[in-house]
C-alpha cells in the first residue's frame, strides 16, 4: 500500500515536471528512438507470429461450426481489440520496463543521479519525464504497426490451408471493424505505455542495495508493469462497456 501511494506521488510529480519548462527535447527524442524504434523488430516479430498462430488455432474451431468464412473477421477483431495492444504492451514491459529499471537503478546505486542534482540538472525531468513520455507516446505507435503486421501474419495463416485474396481478407476485416474496436484499443495503449514507463522509472529511481538492488528493480519493474497492463485492460473493458462501445 505504501508503494502504491509512493508510486502515485511519483506519477503526480511526473505530471508537474512534464508541463514545467525547461523541456529536454533532445533526450526525449533519443528515448523515443530507443524505446520505440528499437523495440519495433521485437514487436513486429511477436505480432506476426501471434497473427499467424491465432489464425491457425481458430480455424479448426470455426470449421467445426461451419463458419470458416468468418475467420478473417474474427482474427481481425481479436487482434485490433485485444491481442495487439496487450501482447505489444507485455513485450514492451519486458523489454523497456526492465531496461529503464536497470538503467535508472544502476545510475542510482552509482550515485550518478545525486551527481546530476549537485551539478544543477533536474534528474527527474531529464531521466524520468523523457522516458515516461517516450514510453507513453511510442507504445500506441508500436501497437498500430504491430496490429498491421499481425493482420498480415493472419492473412498468411488463412492462406496456409485456404485460398483467400489479400483484398478479400482485408475487406472482410475492415467490414467487421468499427471505431468502437479501434479507438478504445488505441487509447488504452497510451495508458499501457505510461504504466510501463512510470513503473520502470519508479523502480529504478528508488533502487537500493547496490547491484543486487538493480536486478531486483528491473525484475520488479517488469512484473508490476505486466500486472498493471492487465489491470488497465480490465478497467478499459469496463469503461468501454459502460460507454456502449463494445
Amino acid at each position: 500500500m505504501y508503494e502504491a501511494g509512493d508510486l502515485s506521488r511519483f506519477a503526480g510529480r511526473f505530471m508537474r515536471e512534464w508541463f514545467r519548462p525547461r523541456y529536454e527535447l533532445a533526450e526525449f527524442f533519443r528515448q523515443c528512438f530507443i524505446i520505440g524504434y528499437k523495440s519495433f523488430p521485437l514487436v513486429a516479430l511477436t505480432g506476426f507470429i501471434m497473427g499467424l498462430v491465432l489464425t491457425m488455432q481458430l480455424r479448426p474451431s470455426l470449421i467445426r461450426y461451419g463458419v470458416e468464412s468468418q475467420l478473417p473477421a474474427m482474427v481481425g477483431i481479436a487482434i485490433v481489440r485485444e491481442i495487439g495492444p496487450v501482447i505489444t504492451a507485455l513485450i514492451f514491459a519486458g523489454k523497456i520496463g526492465s531496461s529503464i529499471g536497470a538503467e535508472l537503478g544502476s545510475m542510482k546505486v552509482t550515485e550518478q543521479i545525486d551527481a546530476m542534482e549537485v551539478s544543477g540538472t533536474n534528474p527527474f525531468k531529464y531521466l524520468v519525464v523523457t522516458r515516461v513520455a517516450a514510453a507513453t507516446l511510442m507504445l500506441p505507435v508500436l501497437v498500430m504497426l504491430g496490429d498491421a503486421i499481425s493482420l498480415y501474419g493472419a492473412y498468411l495463416g488463412v492462406n496456409i490451408r485456404g485460398n483467400t485474396s489479400f483484398h478479400l481478407f482485408f475487406t472482410q476485416v475492415i467490414n467487421n471493424l468499427a471505431y468502437g474496436d479501434v479507438l478504445p484499443a488505441f487509447i488504452k495503449s497510451f495508458f499501457f505505455g505510461f504504466a510501463v514507463g512510470i513503473i520502470g522509472c519508479y523502480k529504478g529511481y528508488y533502487s537500493q542495495k547496490g547491484t543486487e538492488g538493480v536486478g531486483r528493480s528491473a525484475n520488479a519493474a517488469v512484473v508490476i508493469a505486466s500486472v498493471m497492463v492487465f489491470v488497465i485492460d480490465l478497467l478499459a473493458v469496463q469503461i468501454t462497456d459502460l460507454l456502449g462501445l463494445n
Binding site: 533532445a26 527524442f29 463458419v67 467490414n175 479501434v182
Partner: protein, 326 residues
C-alpha cells in the same frame, strides 16, 4: 549527417508509419460506415426490428449499398429505420424497391436487403420511405416446426396402431399365406385383361356404328340423315294422329251406344230389353227357329223330289255340266 540526425529520421519514419496505419484504419472503417463521401438518406418502417442495430449493412440486390444509421420507435407498432446509402446507388434503387430484414448468412449479423420490385418507377429520392416485406422469423419457423412435430407424432402413433392391427389380423395373414392366391390373382388379372380387350373391341364396334350412322349407312343412319324419310314419318305420324282421333270418336260413339243399350236393358224399354230380359220372347224365337229349321228340311226334300222330276231333270243336268267346264 550525424548519428543523432539519422536516428531522428528513423524515428520520424517509424512514427509516421504508425500514424499512417492508424489513419488508414480509421478512414477505411469510416468509409465502410459511409461517414465520408456523398450519401443520401432513405427510410423504411417495420413492425419488428428483429435485433437490427445502427451500423448493420444495407445491401441492394446483394451489393453493399450503405449502413443503418438509426433504429427508432415511432409508436407501439412502427419502427423507423434510417439508412445511409451511397450516392452512386441512387440511380439504381427505385422508389418501389422493397426492403426486408435478413441475416448475413446463416449465423451472421442482421442486415437490410433492398430488392427491386421489377415494375418501372423513378429513382429513389432523399428521405423516401421504402415499402417493406416481412420475412419469416426464426421463432415463427420454430412454431410451425412444433406443429409439424405434433402432426408427425400423431401420424406415427396411428401408424403404430395400424401396424399392430395388421400384425394381429389372422385373416390378413391367412390371405398372405395363401399360396393359391397369386395364381387366382393372375387368373383374375388375365380375365380382367381379356374383358378389357373385349370392351375395347366393343367400343371400337360402337365407334364404327356411330361412324356409319353419321355417314348415313343402315336404317338408323337413313332415319337420321334422309330428310324425305323424315317428311314421310311426319306424315305417317299425322295420319296416325288422325286415326287416333277417329278411333277416339268411334270409341265415344260405341260408349254412347253401349250406354243406350245398357239403359234400355235396365229400364225395360226397347228391343234390347225384350231381347235380353223377356224370356217368353226368347222362347218364341226358339220355337220360330225350330219351325224354320223344320220348314227348311221339308223344302230341301221338296227340292230333291223336284230334281228327280222329269220336268226339271234337264235343267239340273245342264247346271252340273256347266260346273264341270268351269
Amino acid at each position: 549527417m550525424t548519428n543523432s540526425k539519422i536516428d531522428n529520421v528513423k524515428l520520424g519514419v517509424f512514427v509516421l508509419a504508425g500514424l499512417v496505419v492508424l489513419i488508414a484504419l480509421l478512414y477505411l472503417i469510416g468509409r465502410n460506415r459511409n461517414l465520408f463521401g456523398s450519401n443520401f438518406i432513405i427510410k423504411c418502417h417495420f413492425e419488428n426490428a428483429q435485433g437490427l442495430m445502427p451500423g448493420n449493412n444495407v445491401r441492394y440486390a446483394g451489393i453493399q449499398a450503405g449502413t443503418v444509421r438509426s433504429v427508432n420507435l415511432l409508436n407501439d407498432t412502427v419502427i423507423e429505420v434510417t439508412m445511409v446509402i451511397e450516392k452512386r446507388m441512387k440511380t439504381f434503387i427505385k422508389k418501389n424497391a422493397v426492403a426486408s430484414i435478413t441475416t448475413d448468412g446463416l449465423m451472421g449479423n442482421k442486415m437490410i436487403a433492398i430488392n427491386p420490385s421489377g415494375l418501372p418507377s423513378g429513382p429513389v429520392e432523399e428521405g423516401d420511405i421504402l415499402a417493406v416485406k416481412n420475412t419469416v422469423q426464426t421463432d415463427e419457423m420454430l412454431e410451425v416446426l412444433s406443429h409439424t412435430n405434433n402432426d408427425v407424432a400423431l401420424i406415427a402413433s396411428e401408424l403404430k396402431y395400424t401396424v399392430r392391427r395388421i400384425n394381429n389380423s389372422t385373416a390378413l395373414w391367412a390371405i398372405l399365406n395363401d399360396e393359391t392366391l397369386p395364381k387366382n390373382l393372375q387368373q383374375s388379372l388375365a380375365n380382367v385383361r381379356q374383358a378389357s380387350v373385349q370392351a375395347n373391341q366393343l367400343v371400337r364396334d360402337l365407334e364404327r356404328m356411330v361412324a356409319d350412322t353419321r355417314s348415313g349407312k343402315g336404317m338408323l343412319g337413313a332415319m337420321l340423315t334422309d330428310t324425305s324419310l323424315a317428311q314421310e314419318l311426319h306424315r305417317s305420324m299425322e295420319m296416325i294422329s288422325t286415326a287416333a282421333t277417329n278411333t277416339a270418336s268411334l270409341s265415344r260413339e260405341l260408349e254412347r251406344m253401349a250406354a243406350d243399350l245398357r239403359y234400355q236393358a235396365d229400364s225395360g224399354h226397347g228391343a234390347v230389353h225384350a231381347l235380353f230380359r223377356d224370356s217368353s220372347l226368347v222362347r218364341k224365337i226358339n220355337n220360330s227357329l225350330t219351325n224354320i229349321e223344320m220348314g227348311t228340311r221339308a223344302f230341301n226334300e221338296n227340292m230333291e223330289a223336284l230334281r228327280h222330276n222329269f220336268l226339271f231333270r234337264g235343267y239340273f243336268r245342264k247346271q252340273e255340266r256347266k260346273k264341270k267346264n268351269q
